[in-house]
């Protein structure tokens, strides 16, 4: 995983609440056995019309939304299925950060493990960002701040270990492997008691 330290981009907004992972990537695309190339089916059934052309009412199809790496999404983004294909698809589509007042647990875990910033902000800040789609933001992972155009900053919390892994670009598996002895000790203790 490459380190994620700073993201500077305009925002695009999907204001719908409860955008579930089936909407991010419909299940019929989950027969893949790799994690690559899912950007083309990201939001597939919302993004395209039945003839395969772009749906003009899908906000991320708007000319202004092109190239935006920061998605401001309605409350409870990523609910439903645990499919990690959802963050894989978003990253391949070009989204590097999701800002939301509430993010579903499993999606949030999956996103951070892939270097997709899943950031929870307050409801007031969330409302402001939804109302200012296209705002140019600068997210600083080390400082845990988002610089907004008027010169102000939004502070955000990030689980410290996830933040460490993002900044260093390391996989969380390494940490588990470092504690292999503790796992062996646990297994021996439990199996002795059985």
């Amino acid at each position: 995983m490459k380190p994620v330290t700073r993201i500077h981009s305009r925002t695009a907004a999907l204001a719908d609440e409860n955008i579930d992972t089936d909407r991010i990537i419909p299940a019929r695309f989950l027969t893949t056995t790799t994690r690559e190339g899912l950007g083309k089916v990201c939001f597939n059934d919302w993004r395209y019309l039945s003839d395969g052309s772009d749906n003009p009412t899908f906000p991320l199809n708007a000319p202004d939304a092109q190239g935006c790496e920061i998605l401001v999404a309605g409350r409870n983004f990523g609910c439903g299925s645990s499919r990690e294909h959802a963050p894989w698809a978003l990253l391949d589509f070009g989204i590097r950060a999701v800002l939301c007042s509430e993010i579903a647990d499993i999606f949030c875990n999956n996103a951070l493990k892939n270097g997709l910033l899943a950031i929870v902000i307050s409801e007031a800040e969330h409302r402001w960002l939804l109302n200012h789609s296209g705002a140019e933001l600068s997210i600083d992972v080390r400082e845990q701040t988002i610089a907004i155009p008027d010169g102000g900053h939004i502070r955000f919390e990030l689980e410290p270990f996830a933040r460490h892994c993002l900044l260093e670009g390391v996989d969380q598996l390494g940490f588990l492997q470092q504690h292999g002895d503790a796992i062996v000790t646990y297994e021996q203790r439990v199996e002795k008691a059985a």
Binding site: A15, D16, E17, N18, D20, D22, R23, P26, A27, R28, L30, T31, T32, T33, T34, R35, D45, S50, G74, R75, N76, C79, G80, S81, S82, R83, E84, E102, A104, D105, I106, N109, N110, K113, N114, E159, P160, F161, H164, Q172, L173, F175, L176, Q177, H179, G180, A182, I183, Y186, E187, V190
Partner: protein, 471 residues
Amino acid sequence: MNAPRTLFDKLWDSHLVLPETADTPAILYVDLHLLHEVTSPQAFDVLRAQGLKLRRPDRTLATLDHSTPTLAADADGERPYATSAAKEQVAQLEANCREFEVELHGWDSAARGIVHVIGPELGATQPGMTIVCGDSHTSTHGAFGALAFGIGTTEVGHVLAMQSLLQRKPKTLAIHVDGVLPPNVSAKDLILHVIGTIGVNGGTGHVIEYRGAAIEALSMEARMTVCNMAIEAGARAGLIAPDETTFAWLKGRPRAPQGAAWDKAVGEWRELKTDAGARYDREVHIDATEVKPTVTYGTHPGMAIAMNAPVPPARNTIEQRALDYMQAVAGKPMQGTPVNVVFLGSCTNGRLPDLREAARVLRGRRVAEGVRMLVVPGSEAVRRDAEAEGLHEIFRAAGAEWRMPGCSMCIAMNGDFAQPGQLVVSTSNRNFEGRQGKGARTVLASPATAAASAVAGVIADPRAYLTGAAA
């Protein structure tokens, strides 16, 4: 004396390899890792790429369920996969299980079925365990007093390699269900009512413990239905303390402890309950006597109401969009809405008692003209037991299709799906836009409601069909 603990606290504490610190999550040991074909291939690739071994094949169990066709193989043994990718995905799990020596309940196994149906059937699911799977409905296994939750594919890789996970300790939410469910009102009605009450994000960040007289009165299958949908309220897991019902259900199953080991295990399992005086982070009370046959009217499971109650008005444009998608009208009840497809099955309601409940309604009746009904048993064991009782004959005589086990139209990635605009009354767990096929409209319901709606051709109250039906 130790401080009183919740059931969740006991499960958490007993699986800690290392406790969490400000800087690092806890390392939690995993007793049972379940695998299926959709969320595992990329994780096995990580093992291969890093030259790692599967740490505990004996704690790993795999099955085929999501991408698998529910129609039988042809005369040449060729199975009707929806796509070559689906076939390839199944072949990949078969190859991975051979290479890493994982027990796979594949096509030739008499125990194959939906992962959350076969774990309990085999007795692999036991009280006091931690159980994970790359599948959000892993919460099902919490019905046995196990801490069971869904994980992503990266975490599947962590468990394959280290049999452990990095986790922050979630909060606890007690849902007390007091009183008794009315006659012919099921666990599915109850859980839809609960999610309708607390909301689709009402459990986010929490592990739910369901408790109270109405929960204790439920069968194991009904408890699985209730725990299965914990994730639909956003919860990490759902739990029910094990009791005599649990022990009786598990006794004698292939992987359950036997003989003296059984007695010892039951003795330990009896301790798996919340101590008097233990504190939850949140508590909610639900009155079981108020639960009616309940259905969803929108595009997430939190949009649920009694089928005879008027659909509430949209509070914002997002809810209005959901009503428009469903073609639901505020002020009008869902009861009486014309139905195109009925799906009976899934890890929520694909077990023997679910099929029996539907068969009680369908016996001697016909599925309405123009309605397609699909009955998909949750496992080969459910299929065998149902056929031994003749349930398949009741379904077929009614005009329903009797299929092979699998996830089928719940997730609609195996070729079983509904057409755009069709209304599906479904015993599954998710009514998201397009979940059962692009443009398909899903109404979640109990098996009895699904069967009654199939007969009536419109969303119908099963109680009219069940009164006296047992005679």
